[in-house]
Subunit: 304 residues, 2 copies
C-alpha cells in the first residue's frame, strides 16, 4: 500500500488536485476548471469529487490526509476565507468544515501562497534551507513565509500577506483599502495597467507586454522596470525584517525575469544594508504551478 | 545562594548593567556613561569592570550568565557589531570574544532592540503573548521580533532591522544607503529635522518640539503627525507580514504618544486589512530603559 496525501489547489480559474507520496513523488493528478458561475456549492462539490476520485483510484486506506490551498485571507481556527476577491461566495463561509463534512474526513485549509511556499521548501528551490519567503507574482501577489520549516501563520492565520506591503505610500488604490500595495505595482494586473498608462495599448495582457519587451519595445521594458523597482522596495524591507537566506519569486510573470530583475536587484542592493553584507539569495522558484499542490499535500505529512 | 544573570546595555551615551534573578527581580544595578572618547578598549574595560563589580557583590557562584545588548547590526556567529554608527571603533571587532576573554567566561551578544523586545516579552507589555514586534523610537529606530518566545535572528543575526524599512521610497537619505527609512521619518532625529524644515527653530531637541506641541503649536503638532504617519505605514506592513497579536513602541519619543498616535492608527487602519479584521494590539511598551537590561539578562536563562 502506497501512503499518499492529497493536495488541492483552488484558484479563481483552475481547480487541481494531486496525490503525492511521502517522498514527494506525484502519484496521480486531476486538473479541471473552477466553475464559479455554477456557484459555491458546485465548486465545493467539484473539490470533494476530485479528492474522492483520486482516493478511489489509489485506495482510501493509503490516504494520509488532505490539504487545500485557497486564495484570500484565512481565518485558520474557523477554517474560513475572508476577503477573497477571486472567490465570490466563499467569503465568511466555513469552507473547511463543509468540505470535511461532505468528505467524511478532516481537511487542512491553507492560503494558496503559503502552500506554494511550503511546497518550494519541501521539494523545490528551498530544499536546502529552513527559512524562506516566497512572493507569487500573478493576477495579484501572494506571499508565504516559512519559518523553521513551518508556515508562519500569525495569531489568526493571516501572516504573509506580502502583496499588501506598502511600496508607494500614495500609489495605486487597492481593494484591501490601502494605497500603493505591492500587488498594485508589480503583479500581472499592474503590468497591464502600466502598459495602458504609457499608451502601449488598451487591452494588452501581461504576456503581450512581455512579447513587446522581448522585441525591444522601450515602453514595455520601462513597465517591467517599474515592476522590478516596486518588487525591490518590498524585498529590501523583507530582507531587513527577516534576514532569511532565501527569497523566492514565482508565478505567471516570472518569464519576464530578465526584464524586471535588474531593476529589482538594484533597489535591493541600494536599500538593504543586510543584503549587501550577507549572502542573501533572491531567486526564481522552480516548481511553477505545482508548488501549491506539493505544499497542500505536505500539510498532512507535516502533522506527524 | 541567589541565582542571577547579568544584563548589560551598552549605548552610545550610557553603559548600564543589572543583576536580575530568574523571577525577573532586579537584585543590583550599576549605571555609568559610555566613555567613547577614551576608545574601544576603555569602554570594554568598563563593561568588564561593571560585570565583575556586580559579580563581586553578589558572589560569582550564583551567576548564571551574562548577556550584552549593543546597538548596530550583529553578526551572531562571529560575535561582532557591523555598521553601528553609535559605537565608532567597534565595527568588525570581535567584541563578544574580547569581553569573554577578559571576563574569563562566555557572554551572549545581542542587538539592543532585540534585547529590549525580549525584555518586554519576559517581564513587560508582552508577558501574555508568545509573538510580538517592538519598535524603539530614539535617536534612531531599532526593531526586535519575538517569534515563539525567542528573538528572530535570521541566518546571520541581522533580522528585525525595522528602522530601515522603506516608508517613503524617495524620502530622506539614510546612513544605511537607503532612502526613506522609517528612522529618517519617525525617530527623535527625524522630529528635530522636521522642526527645522518647518522653521520652528534650528536647534530644537525632540523634547523642545514635544513641549511646543503640548502648548498647542500647530507646526510642532504637524511634525508629530508626520512622524505618526511614517510609523503607521511601517506598522501596517508589519501587521500584514506577521499577523502577530502585539506591536509595541518604546523609546525616548514615547511621551509624545498623544501627538503621533492618532495619525499612526489612522494609517494602520487604512492600510491593513488584517488590522481592521483582527484584534491586533499596537501599544506602548512598559519597561522603558530597563527593557534592554531585562532582555539581556534573560538571554542566559533562556539557554536552559
Amino acid at each position: 500500500m502506497t501512503e499518499y496525501a492529497i493536495g488541492v489547489d483552488l484558484g479563481g480559474t483552475n481547480l487541481r488536485a494531486a496525490a503525492i507520496d511521502r517522498a514527494g513523488k506525484f502519484v496521480d493528478k486531476i486538473s479541471g476548471s473552477t466553475d464559479l458561475a455554477a456557484g459555491r456549492d458546485a465548486v465545493i462539490g467539484d473539490i470533494v469529487e476530485s479528492i474522492n476520485a483520486l482516493g478511489g483510484r489509489l485506495g482510501m486506506e493509503g490516504l494520509k490526509g488532505v490539504g487545500i490551498g485557497v486564495p484570500g485571507f484565512i481565518e485558520l481556527e474557523k477554517g474560513m476565507i475572508v476577503g477573497s476577491h477571486n472567490l465570490p461566495g466563499f467569503d465568511n463561509f466555513p469552507v473547511r468544515d463543509d468540505i470535511a463534512r461532505r468528505l467524511g474526513r478532516p481537511v487542512i485549509l491553507e492560503n494558496d501562497a503559503n502552500a506554494a511556499a511550503l511546497g518550494e521548501f519541501w521539494m523545490g528551490a528551498g530544499k536546502d534551507v529552513n527559512d524562506l519567503v516566497l512572493l507569487t507574482l500573478g493576477t495579484g501577489i501572494g506571499g508565504g513565509i516559512i519559518a523553521g520549516g513551518k508556515i508562519l501563520h500569525g495569531f489568526v492565520g493571516m501572516a504573509g500577506e506580502l502583496g499588501h506591503l506598502t511600496v508607494v505610500p500614495n500609489g495605486n488604490p487597492c481593494g484591501c483599502g490601502n494605497r500603493g500595495c505591492l500587488e498594485k505595482h508589480a503583479s500581472a494586473t499592474a503590468v497591464e495597467t502600466m502598459a495602458k498608462l504609457v499608451a502601449l495599448g488598451d487591452d494588452l495582457s501581461a504576456k503581450d507586454v512581455f512579447d513587446l519587451a522581448e522585441n525591444g519595445n522601450k515602453l514595455a521594458r520601462r513597465v517591467f522596470e517599474s515592476m522590478g523597482e516596486a518588487l525591490g522596495i518590498a524585498l529590501a524591507s523583507l530582507v531587513n525584517v527577516f534576514n532569511y537566506p532565501l527569497y523566492l519569486l514565482s508565478g505567471g510573470v516570472l518569464p519576464a525575469w530578465d526584464h524586471f530583475a535588474p531593476a529589482m536587484f538594484a533597489q535591493v542592493e541600494a536599500r538593504s544594508f543586510t543584503y549587501r553584507n550577507t549572502k542573501t539569495r533572491i531567486e526564481r522558484a522552480v516548481l511553477g504551478n505545482e508548488a501549491g499542490l506539493y505544499g497542500a499535500a505536505y500539510l498532512p505529512f507535516q502533522m506527524d
